[in-house]
């Protein structure tokens, strides 16, 4: 009897929910702290839209890329909202794989988006993804330790070379230099590309010939490997953005060059033990100023294969709106609101007061130049990536080689030779040299 009752009750609830016709939205996103907040606050969106239910798939960056790219390229339709970046949005937009945002309501204030970020997510004048947060890169440093050794934050890599030995001598249990080492084109290569750029290098010449064995690349990789070995934490080759953020937040790093978007976390006393000791500075430059700071935005896009365009749009517009920023400010404080998307954010006195890094972030984003990311002429756009479909494969492979050089499995010269050969092969296969 009991079983029967249960069955009836279950049946009734199924019928009830079917009559309600709830739309399920599958959202793929990355496991960065801002997205974790979004996932938590999305309860409010569901409360305001009782007919929409959100299913979250939260993945590590490299896995997310793989899943999302396979899904959209095979028109798999597993997701209704994708978290993608300034690399994917224009390439996929051009292929009509994404739904363009061309009917945004006036209240969304699309013209208030910061220009380089908006341009980065557009193709052929259409916006293909709405920015959830935008970032450039800059230097995080421990003010207390720098004061202790009497040093200023380094403006150039030459100055950085001067300060690292002092930090090592002064600070016990603190690694002087933290940089990304985990292989991946969005991980170690994001930082490493900026280093190559500012040392005067480029990925390709005007005829798409790879330039990975040029002196600038050798110089950059040698600097990176030598200094990470001498001044970096052990196991650096498995530290990505999140691992380094944890190291810095627990007071294990003196200087870290990484995404501006992590500043909210580092400056938040709830998450970080060094919130009162951290300060920020412009990323150091090498021989040329070009491309020393990257430009990136994690954005929400809608695959053309979805059956729920309207509902997906409603969610994406909500998550990237001014209202959402205010919602985060109310629940978690202004320090951790998603940065770098709207000039409006940087006009809020509460934000400017709560976020000591705000002005520097805006400045870094506005100065980042994806068109002239190298001092030499280049046939591509992108600071820390090359805006062609083949780059995922190339960047992943070269990232592996850079990591191999970092742990000493390969020499600098050998790693670059292998990278050059792989890049050449991939470009050849993709038909860049047919003419």
């Amino acid at each position: 009897m009991h079983t029967l009752k249960w069955l009836l009750a279950a049946f009734a609830s199924v019928v009830a929910s079917a009559a309600f016709a709830q739309t399920q939205l599958n959202i793929a996103t990355v496991n960065n702290s801002d997205m974790i907040i979004m996932q938590r606050l999305s309860k409010e969106f569901e409360a305001a839209h009782p007919d929409i239910k959100l299913n979250w798939v939260v993945l590590e960056e490299n896995v997310l890329r793989e899943r999302v790219t396979t899904d959209i390229a095979t028109k798999g339709g597993s997701f209704d909202v994708l978290t993608i970046g300034t690399y994917e949005a224009p390439i996929w937009g051009k292929k009509d794989w994404l739904v363009p945002f061309d009917d945004l309501p006036a209240s969304y204030d699309v013209d208030g988006l910061i220009k380089p970020i908006r341009d980065g997510l557009s193709a052929n004048g259409k916006l293909y993804a709405l920015p959830f947060y935008g970032e450039s890169s800059f230097t995080f440093y421990r003010k207390d330790l720098f004061d202790q050794v009497g040093a200023q934050p380094p403006k150039t890599y030459a100055e950085l070379d001067q300060v690292l030995p002092k930090l090592k001598a002064a600070a016990k249990g603190v690694y002087p230099l933290c940089l990304r080492g985990k292989p991946g084109w969005g991980e170690n290569m994001a930082y490493f590309d900026t280093l190559v750029n500012t040392m005067g290098g480029r990925w390709f010449d005007e005829k798409w010939e790879p330039q990975l064995t040029t002196p600038a690349w050798k110089k950059a990789l040698t600097w990176y490997v030598d200094n990470m070995k001498k001044y970096g934490p052990p196991g650096a080759s498995s530290n990505g953005h999140n691992e380094n953020r944890a190291l810095f937040a627990t007071g294990k790093c003196a200087l870290w060059i990484d995404a501006t978007s992590a500043a909210g976390y580092i400056s938040n006393p709830k998450d970080s033990q060094v919130a009162d000791k951290v300060a920020y500075a412009v990323a150091p430059t090498g021989t040329v100023p070009n491309g020393a700071q990257w430009l990136w935005s994690w954005a929400l896009g809608i695959p053309a294969s979805t059956k729920h365009v309207q509902e997906a749009k409603a969610f994406v517009e909500w998550a990237t709106s001014k209202d959402y920023i205010q919602l985060v400010a109310k629940s978690d404080g202004w320090t951790v609101v998603p940065p770098g998307t709207r000039t409006w954010t940087y006009e809020q006195p509460e934000y400017l007061q709560a976020a000591p890094f705000a002005k520097l972030t805006l400045q870094a984003i506005q100065q980042a130049d994806p068109i002239h990311s190298s001092a030499l002429p280049i046939p591509y756009t992108g600071v820390q990536f090359v805006g062609i479909p083949e780059f995922q494969a190339i960047g992943t492979y070269v990232g592996q080689q850079v990591a191999a050089a970092l742990v000493g499995k390969e020499s600098v010269a050998k790693a670059l030779e292998l990278s050059q050969a792989f890049t050449k092969r991939t470009m050849q296969r993709a038909g860049y040299y047919k003419k």
Binding site: A73, G235, Q392, A393, Q400
Partner: protein, 304 residues
Amino acid sequence: MTTGASTLSAPGAVPVVRRARDKTFALKLPSIGLLLVWSIVPLVMTLWYSLQRYNLLSPGERGFVGFDNYTFLLTDPGLATAIWNTLLLVGSVLVVTIAAGTLLAVLFDQEFFGRGVARVLLIAPFFVMPTVSALIWKNLLMHPVNGLFAFLLKSVGLQTIDWFADLPLTAIAIIVAWQWLPFATLILLTAIQALDPERKEAARMDGAGPISMFVFIILPHLGRAISVVIMIELLFLLSIFAEIFVTTSGGPGNASTNLPFLIYRYALLDFDVGGASAGGVLAIVLANIVAIFLMRFLSRTIEA
């Protein structure tokens, strides 16, 4: 098929079997058909894709390219490393699991207090999912800062080892061997238990000590069981993937890329369906070569 001699020795027997087989064939057909579809369709599709230019990221440029994918694969400087890594990984895990498995089997054949519990604990690693055990090894045991091994080494004043950076293939072999050791032990233990006690007794009466007992009685008896373990483990070890994916992603460089991981890289990092299919075909060919050698070797040992 049937020789005159056999017909003579058992008149009528063979035709009866034949007729029975003909009658039941129709009943077996669905399952045989399903099995064929199951194995042949993916194979044919892989062969077909391996002759196509098909990259997921540029779907407009599909077409027949002959053996281009194979040329591209065979000129890949990483291919030799991948094949070598595959063999190294399979070989080392086989050696470790069989050597340690035999010793453990002998040990667990003895009577001792708490044997039942110990046997359950011994088998446990086999039921842990590969990804989970790889994560545990990576983050709790082999981590150069927070891991147990680092703690132990540091507490006796030694330099810590960054396993996945310095000894990636060894580290993966350790994890995989840990997972497969219970399987080897289990099979070998049942084989030892099947050993006729009278033979042992006879050997003992002839004055055999524990070592000569192990070498001359137990080991020869285990020959067949060991061949079974080799064959079954080989099938699974040729396709190790999860442990590599979770711990090293095939790196640093290509240091821990085996053939399955190379195919994965083609398919899901380069999104090159054609190249990955060619890699798949190559893997099938290699696996079959290994299998043929193994079968010959095994049939000889089992007959002997």
